[in-house]
Amino acid sequence: MPRDLAAGPRQLPGLEPETAFYWTSGADGVLRIQCCEACGHWQHPPFPRCAKCASEDVAPRPVSGKGRIASYTVNHEKWLPGLEVPFVFAAVELAEQAELYVFTNILAPVESVTRGMAVEVRFERHEDVWLPMFVPESAAP
């Protein structure tokens, strides 16, 4: 079981009207991303309209929670007292669409992380927020 390599102080996101669904989606273990009901385009961050077809018919829709690491960095700097380093910050390209990126931490030994690595979501609950973290796909239960 990989430990949370980004433990320590963590500033949680506010639950804003447009974004709350993303931060609470993990309550039932499923990641959701905004999708256009008119043309099927996924977009993140969520916006009031589809950037492809301008439809206002956009809504959160479940995704597989699987993706690959598009790029990553190992942060070594202790920006705040108590911040545990090193940890991996990454952009994960979700399987549903090319260039559909979410930012996250990769919960795995830092030296094992590579670009292109297959990963899947693992939620980490803090208060009323379920942070979508990612783990190597093979490490998932």
């Binding site: 790029s71 705040l80 910050f89």
Partner: protein
């Protein structure tokens, strides 16, 4: 075709305040220092100024990122009749006030505009080291665009741009030695800049021995917080004959904003939307990249230089790493002298305006030990999240 607005406008004066880490002078004092020196440089007095512009304007954001407003500058300089005023932070396009001032002058709204950029980030960090983080050191929940990254402890822009560096390294086989050549080059140039914050020599071994901040970026890939101010005076080209200095012509401008500032990323992390600024710039001039005598390329982090060099077409895609390797081609006597005043890595984070100021230093022949021989054109670029570029030249 209608005349390009930038062809109707020139840079008539430029100056910088002292640089401090921190400075004993307040941000407004430093701003007044820079503005008065720039006016004197142009041969103008405060009463000649009818426009004031800045980036980003005074902001409640902490961290010393935006400490001075145009209204304060009007008051402290005694500018009686500013008819045109602008403060622009959108997209973090540092050059936005310059582009807007060009338009204001070209359409007759103003004749002489002072553009300033002031920072007090060194003082802010003395008071609170956390104040300059993306979260601003706040303990409340993070909202807005930073909410996409701060909860994952990406607390500095370096974490975002390290993603670009890693992707670039992997795609093009680039190395830390190739990237480190930028920091080494900038430091060598800063040795000749009395107003640079870091002037002691830096070797490639020093660079490689320094700690990793956010892989693959190291300590000397980062610029440094400072206190300081830069002021640039823009004037209508037909006023140039009455001014103290030969005009610096604005040959072409290019600009772009990107989704980065709203958390929307596109591409494969090896290029920026600065590409569109480069395309726009070259569409507005008959000059070509080979005509550029020196370049002041934004270096908030060293990786920006590679991405901008390619965005501006100064080197082919994927070749910037080999172009900077060893440093010979970007040195003062190389084929493209780069960041001749030290850039932000060594001269300090004047936040884009150090680059613009250094372009004027080169084109007015004020470079002393860092002067590029016969520099007649200089390409200057600003920005990591929003993008601006200008091709400047002297007659």
């Amino acid at each position: 075709m209608t005349a390009k607005p930038e062809s109707l406008v020139c840079i008539s004066g430029a100056a910088q305040s002292e640089v401090g880490r921190p400075s004993r002078r307040t941000a407004l004092q430093l701003t007044a220092d820079a503005c008065l020196a720039a006016l004197s440089d142009a041969g103008l007095a405060p009463e000649d100024i009818d426009g004031i512009a800045t980036y980003p304007g005074k902001s409640p954001l902490g961290g010393g990122i935006a400490p001075v407003s145009p209204s304060e500058v009007q008051a402290v300089l005694g500018i009686e009749n500013p008819r045109w005023v602008l403060a622009s932070g959108e997209g973090f396009s540092h050059m936005a006030p310059i582009f807007n001032a060009i338009n204001a002058i070209a359409c007759g709204m103003a004749r002489h505009v002072i553009v300033f950029r002031s920072v007090a980030q060194a003082s802010a960090r003395m008071a609170s080291r956390e104040s300059t983080l993306m979260s601003g050191g706040q303990t409340t929940r993070v909202e807005g665009n930073n909410a996409w990254t701060v909860p994952f402890n990406a607390l500095s822009p370096i974490n975002t741009f390290a993603l670009y560096a890693q992707a670039y390294f992997d795609k093009y086989g680039a190395t830390s030695k190739q990237l480190g050549a930028i920091a080494v080059n900038n430091r060598a140039n800063a040795a000749h800049n009395p107003n640079a914050i870091y002037r002691k020599p830096l070797s490639l071994d020093d660079y490689l021995a320094a700690r990793v901040i956010s892989s693959p970026l190291r300590l000397f890939d980062c610029d440094s917080h400072i206190d300081g101010s830069t002021a640039i005076v823009l004037s209508h080209a037909d006023a140039a004959k009455d001014l103290a200095r030969p005009p610096i012509r604005i040959e072409a401008v290019g600009m772009a904003i990107s989704g980065l500032w709203v958390g929307k990323f596109e591409g494969d992390f090896t290029r920026l939307d600065a590409d569109r600024a480069g395309e726009m710039l070259w569409s507005r001039t008959d000059l070509r990249p080979r005509d550029v005598d020196c370049a002041q390329i934004y270096d908030g982090f060293s990786i920006h230089v590679w991405l901008w060099l390619e965005a501006l077409g100064l080197v082919p895609r994927g070749e910037a790493c080999r172009f900077t390797e060893g440093g010979a081609r970007i040195a003062l006597d190389g084929e493209l002298p780069l960041n001749t005043g030290g850039g932000q890595l060594s001269a300090g984070r004047f936040h884009g305006y150090g680059h613009i100021h250094e372009a004027t230093v080169q084109l007015w022949g004020r470079g002393g030990g860092r002067q590029v021989k016969d520099a007649r054109t200089c390409l200057v670029s600003n920005g990591g999240y929003g993008y601006g570029a200008m091709l400047l030249r002297r007659d």
